[in-house]
């Protein structure tokens, strides 16, 4: 068993539903997900595919009317769903932390940057003096390459640019050296050059500390660059999971294939028109009886099998269940590729 990598996070059959006046929306539908120590896992999918709901479910921060209905979230072997709120408060920020998508609204506008970094440090390290926390906070700001860190401690969020704020967010997230960081679209709101800088800083920090990361994004370029593994989410399910190289080379699920084909690739010839996926994702309140991707599928649209029954997760990988896809034609499609 020594060769088996160690789990940081193991999500089992997690189901999160939003009970609203307009019906029940299962944003996360019986999802299982494994993250190993020090590995970077990307979760990609369209808006509304349940990526953020999954992230908040892992942290136990789904807000009403949302609720975790069933399943387990095992973090370092402990099921977070069974913990009391006070116990969760000692896990959040110390074992798992969050980087939020919009740096403009993710910091309290009326508190200094320094206070907001120190808050997490002081919370998880009883007996730490304010001065010591401050010293550590300055170090963290230096780690994320905020210039003149000591002076910037007393600045307010509005005095920072978007990229600088996202660096502060990263500093807050790594403050207590968590085992897992969930980064929900960490660079979406930034321009491309800032995006690259922030991502570089983030990557070197988590690699050097051996921190596992769940990177939620719809940017496949970032996934290719940053992640070891990828999960593709569609309508609340993980429809394909593989290591990054395999997924980009041999996408099995038609949805993944469509996603990859809708990204412009300078290295490949085009006839001028970019591929796009027809239609819209289904409403979670009224999911089709069969495969949820069937109405938009390049492979199975109109096929009775796809319309009538939900596909099972199929392993297509050579090595132990490393490449999974939720498609009736997973095997055929995989064989056709190789």
């Amino acid at each position: 068993m020594a060769t088996e990598p160690e789990h940081v996070l193991s999500v089992r059959d997690l189901r999160t539903e939003f009970h609203t006046e307009n019906g029940i929306f299962p944003a996360v539908r019986d999802v299982s997900l494994d993250v190993y120590r020090g590995r970077q896992v990307g979760i990609v999918g369209e808006s509304g595919s349940g990526k953020s709901a999954l992230a908040l479910s892992i942290l136990g921060l789904v807000r009403p009317p949302g609720r975790i209905m069933s399943g387990q979230v095992l973090l370092n072997g402990r099921d977070l769903c069974l913990l009391k709120e006070t116990q969760l408060n000692s896990v959040r920020g110390r074992e798992v932390s969050l980087i939020f998508q919009d740096p403009m609204t993710a910091l309290d506008p009326v508190k200094t940057i320094g206070k907001q970094i120190c808050e997490g440090i002081l919370h998880h390290n009883r007996g730490t003096s304010r001065r010591e926390a401050r010293r550590r906070a300055i170090h963290l700001l230096e780690d994320v390459e905020v210039p003149a860190a000591a002076q910037r401690m007393n600045s307010y969020p509005h005095e920072f640019s978007g990229g600088m704020r996202q660096r502060v967010m990263i500093a807050i997230a790594i403050a207590n050296e968590p085992d897992l960081i969930i980064a929900d679209e960490p660079t979406t709101a930034l321009d491309v050059t800032t995006q690259a800088q922030v991502l570089d800083i983030f990557e070197s920090l988590v690699r050097s500390r051996g921190t596992a990361v769940i990177l939620i994004t719809h940017n496949l370029g970032i996934v290719a660059e940053f992640c070891d593994e990828v999960r593709v989410m569609y309508a609340g399910r993980i429809v394909e999971s593989a290591d990054t190289r395999t997924l980009f080379r041999n996408p099995v699920h038609p949805y993944t294939e469509s996603l990859l084909r809708s990204v412009p690739r300078p290295d490949q010839a085009h006839d001028g028109k970019l591929f796009s996926i027809a239609g819209l994702p289904p409403s979670l309140a009224r999911l089709p009886a069969g495969c949820s991707f069937e109405p938009r599928c390049i492979a199975g649209r109109g096929k009775p099998l796809c319309q009538e029954s939900r596909p099972k997760t199929t392993s297509v990988g050579e090595v132990h269940a490393s490449h999974l896809a939720e498609c009736h034609f997973a095997r055929e499609r995989h064989e056709a590729q190789s």
Binding site: L61, R63, G93, Q101, D102, P109, V110, G120, H123, I172
Partner: protein
């Protein structure tokens, strides 16, 4: 910085002058001759004219205004013929009672609004939320004088928990030496705790009656702001650090929710300090509100005019205070 202070000060001055000018003009234009009221209906035309001469009523209105303002800033607020006293003396006698009542009414309204808004937005509890919303509507819709009567009937007559109307202090107690002229504060300064407690008891019912309406308004505002702020991503980020619900609410949500209510609070506070006619009447409170109404009925110009100017100064002053507070609470305003 200097420029912004100067422009603000000149704006304040303009507001005060404008309010005083309009008040002056309206009161002169209204029918009825104040000199006639003083000399009585049976006095001859000659006596009337002599009185008008003495009061300067025959002069052009801008001269009257100029003279009035000149005297006002030097502390001569005119003479109240109705009361037979200088206006300034009347104000010194009646204003402190209104200010004290206003302060306590505001404290009640503000504290109750904060507590109930926090309860209403705590987790997802529709019953509590609906109750608070009902209280808010109740507070805003209830006529204060009627609430005052109900409070008196229940807590004074039936339960005997609080003293009745007609006094700020029980007769058995001697008032503390005058420092601020606010009874509770003066009692504390003199170290007379029993006097403080007694004065406070006298304040409870009128303060609640007066504070109910602003409470209803503030709790509504705060509740909505808290719900908005709670949906801000930064609250989620705070929670993801491991900070508990209440700590996150008190440390982060509440200060942000206060910001939009600050201006309204300032306005409410200024209004409460200016006294309330109906509540003062019901509790027989020796405040400025009832004095002003009596003076209006008597056409006692000097009192009404002074009141309007003092109110304008009060509003301007408290608005300035609010601006200052914004600078302290909201770093984005400091600039």
């Amino acid at each position: 910085m200097v420029h912004s202070i100067l422009s603000r000060l000149s704006g304040s001055l303009a507001a005060i002058i404008g309010a005083s000018a309009i008040a002056f003009l309206f009161l002169r234009v209204l029918p009825g001759n104040p000199a006639r009221l003083i000399v009585g209906p049976l006095a001859s035309e000659e006596t009337l004219h002599a009185q008008m001469e003495r009061m300067g009523l025959h002069e052009p209105i801008y001269v009257q205004y100029w003279r009035y303002m000149r005297d006002f800033v030097t502390g001569d607020w005119g003479f109240s013929y109705g009361a037979g006293q200088p206006v300034l003396v009347q104000f010194q006698l009646r204003f402190p009672a209104s200010i004290e009542l206003g302060i306590y009414a505001f404290i009640f309204a503000f504290l109750a609004a904060v507590v109930l808004a926090l309860l209403a937005t705590y987790r997802h509890r529709p019953v509590m939320d609906a109750t608070v919303r009902m209280l808010s509507i109740f507070g805003m819709g209830m006529p204060p004088f009627w609430l005052a009567l109900i409070l008196l009937v229940v807590f004074h007559e039936a339960l005997g928990m609080f003293p009745g109307p007609g006094a700020q202090l029980s007769r058995a107690l001697t008032p503390p030496p005058e420092v601020t002229r606010l009874l509770t504060i003066d009692a504390l300064i003199a170290g007379e705790l029993r006097t403080f407690a007694n004065a406070f008891q006298h304040l409870v019912l009128p303060a609640i009656a007066l504070g109910m309406l602003p409470f209803g308004y503030l709790v509504r505002l705060l509740r909505a702001n808290l719900l908005d702020v709670r949906n801000e991503p930064f609250i989620l980020v705070v929670r993801s650090k491991g900070i508990g619900y209440w700590a996150a609410t008190v440390r982060h949500a509440l200060p942000n929710a206060f910001l939009p209510t600050l201006t309204a609070s300032g306005m409410i506070f200024a209004q409460l300090l200016g006294g309330s006619v109906l509540v003062e009447k019901v509790f027989n409170w020796p405040g400025i509100g009832s004095l002003v109404v009596d003076s209006i009925l008597r056409k006692d110009f000097a009192v009404v005019q002074a009141f309007i100017i003092v109110s304008a100064v009060l509003y301007v002053f408290i608005n300035g205070l609010v601006d200052l507070l914004y600078g302290i609470i909201d770093p984005r305003v400091r600039g």
